[in-house]
């Protein structure tokens, strides 16, 4: 029997796979494809205090093995999420992680406090790393002191564990991770998108109306793996790893890099059944490789071999 269970702060998961924030709405769309109870957990779209219209279109552009997006945190606002989206998720027996965003510390604190009191919310994910909003967000994600201060304040009001979602667009990701760990973060999510751009050579203008966008998909996977490898050795809190995962082998790579669980973003767009298919193929691959417990391979790439049982091929 392969043990796929994961226990992370606030999250009792039957497998290590969840959709990534912003790539799965509030679950309703993909619930038409499969039973969401198959998921390890669900991370919903970023929630802000007020309703957000987001950026003008076009909001996405395709790049080699990746895509750019600049949705701009469009969301129906806290009230609507409390009244419609979260209650709808009550029918499922999976941990719900709410991604929280804002322009000011007060925004984050207000949304975090409120959302964390909702009974089916298992954890918060502080989105301090969205590259697509003009005010706030971006500064929180690149200044360790500010990120730490925000984390501390949110921790003080949150009823549930707090994960901080890190931006890869920094010189020193380890410094950021340590700062938020010290400030009390229960876990980390990484990575958010890399800031990128695509220009339409026929018009000479950026394809995305917002000009720059966040790069996701397989293209960024090596950067994500590297950052998780570095950070997981420097902190003691668990990491939810993401960035370009498209196959079960990718999941294993992220776990071995040091992630305790993984999130799937862009892959959902390529294949709406991505999450459940990855969960089942992960189990198959683990069997093939003789791995009987997800836990046993977390950080395998840097842990000394003796502590790990991995049969060679």
């Amino acid at each position: 029997m392969i043990n796929m269970n994961r226990e992370l702060p606030g999250l009792s998961m039957k497998n290590p796979v969840m959709p990534a924030s912003g790539c799965f709405g509030f679950g309703q769309e993909y619930a038409r494809f499969y039973d969401l109870n198959k998921l390890g957990a669900i991370t919903v779209k970023a929630v802000t205090a007020e309703e957000r219209a987001g950026n003008p279109v076009p909001r996405v552009a395709e790049t080699e093995s990746g895509m750019l997006n600049a949705i701009g945190l469009q969301n129906p606002g806290l009230e609507h999420v409390l009244q419609h989206e979260l209650p709808w998720l009550e029918q499922y027996d999976i941990p719900v992680i709410v991604n929280v965003a804002g322009n000011t510390m007060e925004d984050y604190i207000y949304v975090s406090e409120t959302v964390s009191r909702v009974k089916n919310v298992s954890a918060l994910e502080l989105n301090i790393s969205c590259p697509n909003v003009k005010v706030g967000g971006i500064q929180f994600g690149s200044d360790p002191a500010i990120a730490a201060e925000l984390t501390k304040k949110v921790k003080a009001v949150s009823q549930v564990p707090v994960y901080v979602k890190l931006s890869p667009n920094v010189t020193d990701i380890v410094e950021m991770a340590k700062a938020v760990e010290e400030a009390g973060a229960d876990g980390l999510s990484m990575i958010n998108t890399l800031l990128g751009m695509k220009i339409d050579i026929n018009t000479g203008k950026p394809v995305i109306a917002n000009r720059t966008g966040g790069l996701s998909g397989p293209a960024i996977k090596p950067v994500a793996v590297r950052m998780i490898y570095q950070v997981s050795q420097a902190v003691d809190i668990p990491i939810i790893g993401m960035g370009g995962i498209h196959t079960a082998d990718d999941i294993l790579e992220f776990l071995m890099a040091g992630a305790s669980a993984v999130a799937i973003g862009t892959a959902n767009f390529v294949n709406p059944f991505a999450c459940p298919e990855l969960i089942s193929s992960l189990e198959t691959r683990m069997a093939e490789l003789g791995i009987d417990d997800v836990e046993s391979i977390v950080g395998r790439s840097w842990k000394t071999c003796s502590s790990v049982s991995l049969s060679s091929r």
Partner: protein
């Protein structure tokens, strides 16, 4: 809503860079609503990464066959054009909300106005309308005479006017020139094509109608918010201030969205 490997039963270049592809499979039986689209994966791997939205152009339930017509434009559609009979194609769909048929009674008249690769979804619509006993009049706009496609097929279903921008065939000018010249006694219009055309058609129209929009998409199923458009003031009062083209559309009542 499913993802299926449809089998390609035919592929033909019907005008320069315009291809007609027929596909067979079980999911075709769910493709009953004209104006919906399918989200197509043009390669096995991750290059190109995203699916391509293509309108349903025709469906034969007898043959379990779907027809799409597309222009080989960028990398994805060029790869699509390179596929051969008996290859399979990963198709997600049908997606979105199509043209409402019940707005028109038997004996009423519908004006269909299409431009370029906005024309294909109107064909399935025309067939469905004719079946309901609705009179279909069609105006199709092209750049030049070589580009014309589906003319014969639409002619079998009713009156048709073709326009070309260079005047090389039919009415010289845009579809709206033909709209202005022609009989204005129709009960509803249905249009699909580039946004400037949609705007002009809406302005020139003598009735209410429906427009089909395009936008760059991520998921195609309403989850990523890549493809939104603004709801018009009137309709936003009814609820959300935006519409998702992939799941609330691509077809909207002409007054429902800002274009």
């Amino acid at each position: 809503m499913i993802v299926e490997q449809l089998r390609i039963t035919g592929q033909e270049e019907i005008a320069p860079r315009i291809y007609r592809m027929t596909l067979k499979g079980d999911s075709v039986q769910t493709m009953t609503e004209p104006g919906q689209f399918v989200h197509v994966k043009v390669s096995d791997g991750i290059d190109p990464l995203l699916r391509r939205p293509i309108s349903i152009c025709d469906v034969s339930q007898d043959k379990q066959e779907l027809t799409i017509i597309y222009r080989a434009e960028g990398r994805g559609t060029r790869l699509l054009a390179a596929k051969k009979t008996d290859d399979t194609l990963d198709v997600l769909g049908p997606l979105g909300q199509g043209f409402p048929l019940d707005s028109l009674q038997k004996g009423s008249t519908a004006l269909l106005v299409g431009g370029g690769v906005g024309i294909p979804p109107l064909y399935y619509l025309a067939k469905k309308l004719v079946k309901r006993g609705v009179n279909v009049r069609t105006i199709l706009g092209f750049r030049q005479s070589e580009d014309i496609f589906l003319e014969k097929e639409f002619r079998e279903l009713g009156d048709i006017v073709v326009t070309t921008e260079d005047g090389s065939k039919g009415v010289h000018g845009f579809v709206t020139d033909a709209m202005n010249q022609a009989d204005k006694s129709y009960d509803s219009f249905f249009t699909c094509g580039p946004v400037p055309m949609l705007r002009a058609v809406k302005a020139a129209a003598a009735s209410d109608g429906f427009i089909s929009l395009e936008e760059r998409m991520g998921c195609g199923v309403g989850a990523c918010l890549a493809c939104v458009c603004e709801a018009s003031d009137a309709s936003s009062q009814e609820g959300k201030k935006y519409r998702k083209i992939c799941s609330d559309g691509p077809v909207f009542r002409a007054g429902e969205v800002v274009i």
